[in-house]
């Protein structure tokens, strides 16, 4: 598995960088930090049919941190939900690829998110609904660590644990930064793993840049009789040194030096993908 998922991660990262370079701005940092998780979910774990996005028996995915849509859109396009060319329409006037996921516009998007805290509640509702109907569909939801400022997130966590929604796995993307700076400085989240456990979730930590660790954590959570919560240790801007080092990288305007750096990163990713494809043949 590992080689293919590493390749898929590189492809998601490349497509995300290309679409943001084309648009000239966007939510770069938080998109790149979830690339490996999206790769594992859509590349291996989730039961979906890209040619039939509304398939009733599919697993559901909720991107509660909706601003990371560029990485999500890249993943969906690579899976074949819609043509890759559509990625260049991000945030165009009248586009079907708005800055935040819209289930009425984007093929494959299960819920409309962007107002932080609401996606995780929708996810618990979906999971509860499958429990009521005794269906086997699973639900996967990525929450931001900054998003955990929202009280609604904790309402949803408590409900998930109380209802023993073991068909739901939650990821907290702990990239340690939110829009205005470090999470510890804006509103200290303290220990998210301990807090998730205190709310009744089965909490584990994984390296969010390591596909195997993410996959192992998911499999561990699947065995439990309650909701799993995987705290992903990640870096905002993950995978591209220049953007990882950029302090204010939540929403990035690609101008001047950053254009050159992004172009360089794209070339390196393309070369890396070529090499990976060569090795896999």
């Amino acid at each position: 598995m590992t080689q293919n998922l590493k390749l898929f991660s590189a492809e998601i990262r490349l497509a995300t960088c290309k679409m943001l370079l084309h648009r000239g701005f966007g939510h770069l940092g938080g998109s790149l930090s979830i690339v490996e998780t999206l790769s594992v979910l859509f590349g291996e774990v989730m039961n979906v049919r890209p040619t039939e996005p509304s398939w009733r028996d599919r697993d559901f995915f909720v991107l509660s941190k909706g601003h990371a849509a560029p990485a999500y859109y890249s993943t969906l396009a690579l899976k074949g939900y819609f043509p890759m060319e559509m990625l260049d329409t991000l945030n165009d006037n009248g586009t079907n690829l708005p800055s935040h996921p819209d289930r009425l516009k984007v093929p494959g998007v299960d819920t409309t998110t962007g107002s932080l805290g609401q996606g995780i509640s929708m996810a618990v509702g979906i999971a509860k609904s499958f429990k009521i109907s005794k269906k086997d569909n699973r639900v996967f939801c990525i929450v931001g660590d900054g998003e955990c400022n929202e009280g609604q997130v904790w309402e949803a966590f408590q409900f998930a644990a109380h209802s023993k929604l073991n068909n739901l796995i939650i990821f907290i993307d702990e990239n340690l930064k939110q829009l205005d700076g470090f999470t510890t400085e804006i509103l200290n989240p303290f220990d998210l793993k301990e807090k998730a456990a205190a709310f009744g979730l089965y909490a584990v930590r994984a390296d969010g840049s390591n596909e195997k660790e993410i996959l192992d954590a998911i499999n561990e959570c699947k065995e439990k009789d309650t909701t799993g919560c995987i705290i992903l240790s990640t870096v905002k801007g993950q995978g591209i040194k220049y953007f990882e080092d950029m302090m204010s990288n939540h929403h990035v305007k690609l101008i001047g030096e950053s254009i050159n750096e992004m172009t360089k990163a794209i070339e390196e990713l393309e070369a890396k993908i070529e090499l990976m494809k060569g090795k896999s043949q």
Binding site: F60, V62, D102, R103, L104, D110, T111, T112, G114, S115, G117, Q118, G119, S121, M122, A123, V124, G125, I126, K128, S129, F130, I132, S133, G151, Q152, E155, A156, Q158, F159, H162
Partner: protein, 322 residues
């Protein structure tokens, strides 16, 4: 519509209608789910929740999570009804109603209980005089204020079979005006003309229909003939009916247990202004202030929501020199 007026006094409380009708819907439609935020006992639903533990969910005091989760459930085919007191069913979770609900075209029915002066001893903190304004401003939300038990039951059954976002407001323990006979049917988006007169028209909702009918009796003693319309659908408003019944009238009055800003009064005013109506409008409602503690009777009088207030509004406009 097949509407029959009634003179029978039944004294049925809205909460009893909610209990009976939701039990019926749970037992006839396997997709119906009911959510509450720790007000199951307060709305008298304990036995219903105990009977259908799988599809009746007490979400705890987490209204925001309840609204978004209900929207999520609806995306998988469930037909959720959610209840809380009107201020916490709308004001507290406005963004969840807007985004998780209406914006992504989810399918949720929200019942807000004890609006306006029905907050009674719960006081100003629990008084919602803005729920109609807040729901009316969101695209694709149907906003309903039933007048009696028959209409409330018809609404609950009707919206169970429709897709979309619905807001229904009603008092819990109100001894109702019995307006419609059992078996009456209505149409969402269509007002009900209760009586026709040539001088004045009163558009009223909910409990204010009784006051409007009482006002009509008083005004008739002064030789004024009055049309009274039950505008139980605040959105979509029956604009055609408004245009039709205001024709030739000197005075139009709206009567609602809600702020005069943003609710029925505003909705009717918009139609009148857009159509260049020469009639004078008075909005009987809560005059841009907060609620307070008191009996419903005390608060209704204090907020000037009695028949006499409607009469005074009509007379003041009649005597006004334009």
């Amino acid at each position: 519509m097949n509407i029959v007026r009634t003179i029978e006094q039944r004294n049925i409380e809205m909460s009893k209608v909610y209990q009976d009708t939701m039990l019926e819907l749970l037992e006839t439609n396997g997709e119906v789910v009911i959510c509450d935020a720790d007000l199951v006992g307060a709305i008298g639903m304990t036995s219903v929740y105990n009977k259908h533990k799988d599809r009746c969910i007490n979400m705890g005091i987490c209204e925001a999570n309840m609204m978004s989760a209900a929207a999520g459930m609806s995306l998988t085919g469930k037909i959720p009804f959610v209840h809380s007191l009107a201020p916490f069913a709308v004001r507290r979770l406005f963004d969840q109603l807007y985004l998780s609900g209406a914006y992504q075209k989810a399918n949720v029915r929200v019942f807000g209980s004890d609006p306006g002066f029905w907050a009674s001893y719960n006081g100003g903190t629990h008084t919602s005089v803005e729920d109609l304004a807040l729901t009316r401003v969101i695209p694709n939300v149907t906003v309903l204020a039933p007048a009696d038990a028959v209409q409330f039951q018809w609404i609950l059954r009707e919206i169970a079979g429709k897709y979309g976002m619905f807001y229904v407001r009603a008092a819990r323990h109100r001894k109702l005006l019995d307006l419609y006979a059992p078996g009456s049917t209505f149409e969402i988006g269509k007002g009900v003309v209760l009586c026709e007169g040539k001088d004045v028209v009163i558009f009223a909702i909910g409990e204010m229909i009784k006051e409007a009918l009482d006002a009509k009796e008083i005004l008739e003693k002064s030789s004024l003939s009055v049309t009274v319309v039950d505008m139980f659908t605040i959105k979509p408003l029956d604009k055609e009916l408004v245009r039709k019944v205001i024709q030739g009238k000197k005075v139009v009055v709206t009567a609602e247990n809600h702020s005069i800003i943003g609710g029925l009064g505003s909705a009717v005013a918009e139609v009148m202004a857009e159509n260049g109506s020469p009639a004078l409008l008075s909005r009987v409602g809560i005059q841009d202030h907060f609620g307070e503690v008191g009996t419903p009777e005390y608060l209704q009088a204090k907020f000037k929501l009695k028949a006499v207030d409607i009469v005074n509004a009509v007379i003041a406009q009649m005597e006004r020199k334009v």
